[in-house]
Symmetry: C2
Subunit: 109 residues, 2 copies
Amino acid sequence: METVKQPLQPAEVEMVARMAKALGHPTRIEILVFLASRDSCFFGNIHDELPMAKSTVSQHLKELKDAGLIQGEIETPKVRYCIHKENWEIARKLFSNLFDLFDWKEMHC
Amino acid sequence: METVKQPLQPAEVEMVARMAKALGHPTRIEILVFLASRDSCFFGNIHDELPMAKSTVSQHLKELKDAGLIQGEIETPKVRYCIHKENWEIARKLFSNLFDLFDWKEMHC
DNA sequence: ATTAATGTTCGTACATTTGCGAACAATAAT
DNA sequence: ATTATTGTTCGCAAATGTACGAACATTAAT
């Protein structure tokens, strides 16, 4: 079976850019690394790890959530944050396709 | 041989965020897709594809270049742009590590 | 010396992002 | 009812990003 290089479709371009933008801040990468390192991740745990105001942490979490990369659920009075597994896999594939774009390309500079 | 999950090092966190940020705009993704689709990519070719002023295109190219993802070389009077293969592979690995972070993780929400 | 071709840089305007503390909301405990 | 706990939202300020046209730089051609 042949592998055909698929260019990213317009909707995929938008989505990968959207997700990349959400990943485009060190604090948000830190949050993801931290989420991956723990079983239980309440907001407070995340906030404790980061040298910034809770309102700022909350905003970064909101950006990750709006991009679909994480999810949060209320466990009154706390909020538990987790990776959004399904969208994370979608993101993995989108970025994989992106990085494969140049695999069979000869260079001219 | 065992595979040990390596958390991203601080310098890697910065770098992946830096690169993600550069990828975080649809136009810049379009530029990369276009670069991948052609053998020869002069500035003019890229500009012709995009519905925006050349100064804007030039800025987007500068962002990609500053992030190390592409390179440009002058072929007077034109400028040829290409992927930066070496850094592109570095980026691929950084993002791959990022997306692998949650591979062995059970969900709690 | 002028003119043409190709891009970059500059100056400006507007929008978005980042960060903070204060105020607020929701629930639980007293 | 009050108070305590946990996060979110609001309002603000500063910084950064996006886009444009004009001006500029470089080289080639006339």
